[in-house]
């Protein structure tokens, strides 16, 4: 089961790093997830959640790279068209 979806941390409870829990907002739905594996994540961060556990913090800069990649392709394509 690799179904994991991104959500925003709205609040955090618990001091013990291994049992830190977060209330995650998935597009308007709140569900709790364990934050033990993302000690660096805080309120406002987006995390990828699977089976009740946050497995990674979404890197917002990296997230844009898919679109930058496309932009580069487009620009290269336009350059080639201009050139020829």
């Amino acid at each position: 089961m690799c179904l994991a979806i991104p959500g925003k941390i709205e609040s955090v409870t618990g001091d013990d790093p291994l049992s830190r829990m977060g209330k995650i907002n998935f597009g308007g739905i709140f569900k709790e997830a364990c934050l033990a594996y993302v000690p660096e994540a805080t309120v406002g961060d987006y995390v990828i959640v699977h089976a009740g556990f946050a497995l990674s913090r979404v890197d917002e800069d990296e997230a844009k790279k898919v679109f930058e990649y496309l932009r580069q392709i487009k620009e290269l394509g336009e350059l080639k068209e201009d050139g020829s």
């Binding site: 690799c2 179904l3 291994l18 597009g27 089976a51 990674s56």
Partner: protein, 368 residues
């Protein structure tokens, strides 16, 4: 939903498709490892956007599908015992064992419950001290951090009534087994993005080198898969064979260290039988001796039983990418989600289920 919907943009998908058409000059066979990726491909019709030379082969990345039949039968035996609360992820309920399935056990009075997280099972154990709570721990490396934490917490809380039936499998050994098979025609891989979120992608470097196949760690949304395919094709077209990371918003090279540490603490690597494929050495996770008290197989002393697979089920060939689901004669006829012959027809990540749901008839995707 942020970080989800923007990766489903039709215009941008079209741009990726155009670039793929531009750079592809030869036929290529690429395998997407994860069942979640298979579902996205079939649901959104991503393969229809690709140039005809690219064939996507569906891989064995469905942990429910590859759970050995013996394990399913053990689960069924335990679930039928009085005093047991058997908890599992939803997909497992309809997976056929030798004679029955969990849903039927439930219908016959077994206390079988679907949970969203293994921690829910731990909570159930705490709330029901008089019952034996068992969790069916099925999954790839993506799920191992969750099950590891459940065992860890159960141990902390000294729960005597909680145990787990573990059937975790690991991806790199499966890729190795596939690549070393003489029938293998796969030339490039889209590695599973969430597995690599946990494990990183260092393990794939030696595989890419040994078999000279490009491996691109890929996400699950249409733009992710299209970019993953494009990155793979670019390598193939230029004769390169390395590991790249498309899903960098979630995956980094070393992966999730705290998760890996807890997995190592709770589990050890064991040989594992993959349903439809056979035993792959060092391809599974089992509980370390220190946590043997939480091993449901030991606790309930379920014996190894003789297992009988349906002779008509071709799921092994589907899982290895040798055939597509609709090429199986039983597809949609004798085998359907309500009466499956094998696991891939009922798992949320099974290739057969994806085809049944989104592409029942041949030519079911109309050309634009």
């Amino acid at each position: 939903m942020k970080f989800l919907d923007e990766y489903r943009d039709a215009g941008l998908a079209e741009q990726f498709a155009r670039e793929l058409h531009r750079v592809t000059t030869r036929p290529w066979k690429i395998m997407e490892v994860c069942g979640g990726q298979t579902h996205a491909i079939v649901k959104f019709g991503i393969d229809e956007l690709l140039p005809k030379q690219i064939e996507l082969i569906h891989g064995p990345g469905c942990p429910v599908c590859v759970t050995p039949l013996e394990m399913i039968d053990k689960a069924l035996e335990i679930a039928a015992r009085p005093g047991v609360v058997f908890t599992s992820f939803g997909d497992m309920l309809r997976v056929p064992g030798s004679a029955t399935d969990l849903l039927s056990v439930k219908a016959n009075g077994g206390d079988v419950r679907i949970v969203y997280s293994p921690l829910d099972a731990v909570k159930l154990a705490e709330q029901n001290p008089a019952k034996e709570v068992v969790f069916f721990g099925v999954g790839f490396e993506t799920t191992a951090p969750a099950t590891a934490m459940a065992v860890y917490q159960a141990a902390q809380k000294k729960l005597a009534n909680f145990s787990m039936l573990i059937s975790h499998v690991l991806v790199p050994p499966a890729i190795e087994a596939l690549m070393s098979s003489p029938n293998c025609q796969v030339q490039g891989f889209l590695a599973a993005g969430h597995v690599c979120t946990v494990m990183g992608f260092e393990e794939y470097l030696p595989l890419a080198k040994k078999y000279r196949v490009p491996i691109v760690v890929t996400g699950f949304e249409p733009l992710d898969i299209l970019q993953g395919v494009l990155m793979t094709v670019r390598q193939l077209e230029s004769g390169r064979a390395g590991v790249e990371n498309q899903y960098s918003r979630s995956v980094c090279r070393e992966g999730n260290r705290p998760a890996q540490e807890l997995i190592k603490r709770i589990f050890k690597i064991v040989p594992r039988k993959w349903r439809g494929i056979g035993e792959i050495p060092q391809s599974g996770l089992g509980l370390r001796a220190e946590f043997a008290a939480f091993d449901a197989e030991k606790k309930f002393g379920v014996a190894e039983t003789r297992v009988e697979e349906s002779s008509e089920c071709m799921s092994g060939l589907v899982l290895q990418g040798q055939i597509k689901p609709h090429e199986c004669p039983a597809f949609g006829v004798k085998c359907a989600p309500e009466h499956p012959l094998g696991a891939p027809m009922v798992s949320g990540e099974g290739a057969c289920a994806a085809y049944y749901r989104y592409r029942r008839q041949p030519g079911a995707v109309a050309t634009k």
